[in-house]
Amino acid sequence: MQAPSVVHSTFVLKRSYPKPPKTVFSAFSEESKKRRWYAEAESNEVLQFELDFRVGGVERLRYKLKPGTPVAGMIITNESRYQDIEPERWIVTTATMDLGEKRILVSLIAAEFVETANGTDLILTHHGAYLSGPNGLTPPMIEAGWSKILASLETEVAR
């Protein structure tokens, strides 16, 4: 039987927006703006979203997957701590992601705002340590990890 392993993965996404850095940055720093693009999605029902935008502050997002989407009722919790903020330049956070009560991801995320002639380039770098990755999982471990998820799923769908 193999032990659970950690899988590391990094990706970088780049976008160009025809707005100045101050405007793009405010979409990250203002809770009502950030909620609309970060928290809300067609497949999600947002249960909780709050952000305390300062170094040391915490942002919390809890959402439930809606019926009609994969595993309706699954609850996901993302908790992020702001580690460094350089206004209109960058935001660095460390974050965790829990599926039900199981921690599945710990990540380091940097959002950089670069002023250009056309507006702002946004560079998002995400380093993730994915827990209990595909390598080495056995049926008993999967069962143990998923038992709580399935329990919460059944409860939710039974409502």
Binding site: F11, L13, R15, Y17, P18, K19, P20, T23, V24, A27, K33, R36, W37, Y38, E40, A41, T69, P70, V71, A72, M74, I76, M97, L99, I104, L105, S107, L122, L124, H126, G128, Y130, S132, P134, L137, T138, P139, I142, E143, W146, S147, L150, A151, L153, E154, V157, A158
Partner: protein
Amino acid sequence: MEIGRIFDALGDPTRRAIVDRLRQGPLSVSKLAGPLQITVTAVGQHLQMLEETGLVHTEKIGRVRTCRLEPTGFLALHDWVQDQRSTWERRLDRLGELLAETDET
């Protein structure tokens, strides 16, 4: 395996009940059917879908068909949830739409 099929498989309460029972260990088809109060035939149909989607594995030894949980489908589910790159791609798309809406320059 298309992720939607796995969700369809788990979208049914009887199939979820089957998966839930198998968490405790392998069971024969007849032992599954009894407590669920459905026929062996009905269980068989549910098991077929669960097998196709990689959530359950069944094996016939002699006259008894035994079922157990199978990691493959659950891992696909797990990977789907963990797919952070796609999640962030969609977020940044929505950010673009939000920015385009505002009158600020």
